[in-house]
């Protein structure tokens, strides 16, 4: 049984080095523009940085995947075509794509390039995945986190493709790549612009110790004096339906599937993916070390668990849908 490939986030060259030094087998990263789904200010790689970082990664025995996983803009598709060309030119080992048009371009222009299907393509059924495999020859698919272990096993039997699953980090509660909540409020969404609840639309107003977090015209959450504050991500908003004010869509909670590694391995998953390109170097070093030790040493230790739990959103964790249906 092949070992699980540990795929870590790299929001910058420094983070890439930290991830690989901590034991990642591969990292994924993006360019400094809308072509990737973590298009945050101050984050990501310039083309020269990507080339240098990829050389460094290869010299250290690790792979680099380039995320070009947003949807190209009508009338302005060149940015995505250029992203495909220049990341392959920088020597990356695979592209992580979502847009049918970008997949078509990549396949036609670079017949030998390795293509992975991003979770942003929202392909969660054997039929959907089979379409991308047949049409574009994708070699690996990153699954939406809502599938159970049983469903992943069934999928494995039906489609001949490598499977990558998320094992840690913040997860979307809506189908990835198909959520327009952010563009409804701010004009920018993860699908087209690579941002969700973008910072330029965020404001914090403190009055009498109560902090209100707003996104655009909408107040999304409020924090009592001393209460830990959070970022006004749309699906984590405090909403009112009738009488009560609740976190209708999701409580702030992180995915942590460190106890499921043996299960993933048993059902033939190829790789586990850690989320968090925007979380910084200390974060990636910590989580990669924990997962590396878990993968090599046969099980997570108490210290590793604690380290991971400290990095979970709101301090709370779940193993998501993997064990039971998340409905």
């Amino acid at each position: 049984m092949a070992a699980l490939e540990l795929v870590a986030p790299a929001g910058s060259p420094a983070m890439l080095r930290a991830a690989i030094e901590a034991g990642a087998d591969a990292v994924y990263c993006g360019l400094r523009d809308e072509t990737n789904a973590r298009n945050f200010p101050g984050l990501n790689f310039s083309p020269p940085e990507l080339r240098t970082a990829t050389d460094w990664a290869h010299a250290h025995g690790a792979k680099v995947f380039a995320a070009i996983n947003t949807y190209a803009h009508a009338g302005a598709v060149d940015a995505w075509r250029n992203a495909v060309d220049c990341t392959l030119d920088a020597g990356v080992d695979a592209l992580i794509l979502a847009d049918i048009g970008v997949l078509a371009y990549a396949r036609a222009a670079h017949p030998r390039a390795r293509l992975h299907l991003s979770v942003q393509a929202s392909a969660g059924t054997p039929e959907a995945i089979a379409f991308y495999v047949a049409e574009f020859g994708v070699k690996r698919v990153v699954l939406p986190r809502v599938l159970t272990l049983a469903e992943i096993t069934a999928l494995r039997a039906e489609v001949d493709v490598e499977i990558e699953v998320f094992a840690f980090g913040g997860m979307c509660v809506m189908a990835e790549g198909r959520c327009a909540l952010s563009s409804y409020v701010t004009g920018r969404s993860p699908n087209l612009c690579g941002v969700c609840s973008p910072a330029e639309a965020v404001s914090y107003i403190e009055r009498d110790g109560v902090l209100t977090a707003r996104l655009g015209a909408f107040a999304l959450d409020r924090f009592a004096p001393g209460e830990p504050a959070g970022y006004p991500t749309l699906c984590k908003a405090r909403l009112q339906c009738g009488e009560e004010s609740i976190h209708l869509f999701e409580e702030p909670v992180s995915l942590n599937a460190i106890d499921l590694l043996a299960d993933f391995q048993a059902i033939g998953v190829a790789a586990i993916k850690l989320e968090g390109r925007q979380r910084g170097t200390n974060y990636v070093a910590t989580i990669v070390r924990a997962f590396r030790e878990a993968l090599d040493g046969g099980g997570p230790s108490a210290a590793q668990r604690q380290a991971l739990s400290r990095l979970s959103e709101g301090g709370r964790q779940t193993d998501g849908a993997y064990r039971k249906q998340w409905r």
């Binding site: 009508a74 847009d99 048009g101 059924t125 809502v146 509660v173 198909r178 909540l181 004009g187 339906c241």
Partner: protein, 295 residues
């Protein structure tokens, strides 16, 4: 331009649905009607009772009927239903990539819930049988125009009225609101024929919940001159069914596309259906979706 009726997104009781579609068949301006329970398969036992007779009635009334596929099939039953629909003769609307393989190159409409945002993707689908694209709500009129210029043969349909679908999830939020799971949901979504209003904690209307689907609270309404819309290559205007007077609304849109009234005159019929909710058209202008219409 065609006036089309989008698939009914909400869970209406059978008598209400039948009456609605009877009026659509007998007295409406709709040229084409999309049919199918695309949001939640738990509703299928109910909708199965009336969808076929309604399709019959609509065809007799001279309306073109296009079956619409599930938005996010996931269970084996849903996937089989999706395949079955994709295998149908006649035109179908596809709302999830899962149906492409089964459709195998036969003609189809790419629904607004698909991620087709540019001419590269549109062209690829066109080469695989797509004859019409109903633009994703996030596409501005300019973006639609860019797709049109690159794919002039592809018919283009625009989401011209209704609460805009914004997200879909595996989790049912109607159930969650009442502390339940999707499995034991008690079909609470039937209580909200236009979606359950969700405001911010400050009381500002924000979203509308429809089971696993989240929509805008504001009703999108086209407020652009017909010339600009036609110029972008749009050949059909889709009105999403709500509980207000859709017949009068369709009449207004017909008058608009025949240039008997200007965009501003759509406001009255739109207000009738939207009720207290606001009208928005930001997406069409490339702005935040919530930005007000007719301003």
């Amino acid at each position: 331009m065609e006036i089309t009726l989008g698939p009914l997104l909400f869970h209406w009781p059978e008598p209400v649905a039948r009456d609605f579609y009877a009026r659509v068949a007998d007295e409406s301006e709709f040229d084409r009607v999309y049919l199918g329970e695309i949001v939640c398969s738990k509703r299928w036992p109910f909708t199965d009772e009336w969808l076929a007779p309604v399709a019959e009635r609509l065809s007799r009334g001279g309306k073109a009927v296009v079956w619409s596929s599930p938005a996010m099939p996931s269970t084996p039953r849903e996937r089989r239903a999706c395949d079955a629909l994709a295998a149908r003769a006649g035109l179908v609307e596809i709302n999830d990539v899962a149906a492409f393989t089964a459709r195998a190159g036969r003609p189809f409409v790419a629904g607004p819930l698909l991620n087709i945002y540019n001419e590269l993707a549109a062209a690829r689908l066109a080469s695989r049988g797509c004859v019409r694209l109903c633009a994703n709500v996030e596409l501005s009129l300019d973006a639609v125009g860019a797709i049109h210029r690159a794919c002039p043969e592809l018919e283009l349909e625009l989401f011209a009225f209704g609460r805009t679908p914004l997200a879909i999830s595996a989790r049912c939020y109607h159930a969650r609101r009442h502390g339940l799971h999707k499995d034991g949901c008690k079909f609470l979504c039937a209580q909200d024929p236009d979606g359950m209003a969700a405001s911010t904690f400050e009381g500002q209307p924000f979203l509308a919940v429809n089971g696993v689907q989240t929509l805008s609270h504001a009703y999108q309404c086209l407020d652009t001159p017909r010339e600009a819309v036609a110029g972008a290559g749009v050949g059909a205007l889709r009105l999403s069914p709500h509980s207000g007077d859709m017949i009068a609304l369709a009449r207004a849109f017909r008058a608009y596309e025949r240039e008997k009234i200007g965009p501003d005159d759509l406001r009255h019929a739109a207000r009738e259906v939207a009720g207290a909710a606001s009208l928005a058209s930001g997406y069409l202008r490339g702005e935040a979706g919530v930005a007000a219409a007719f301003s």
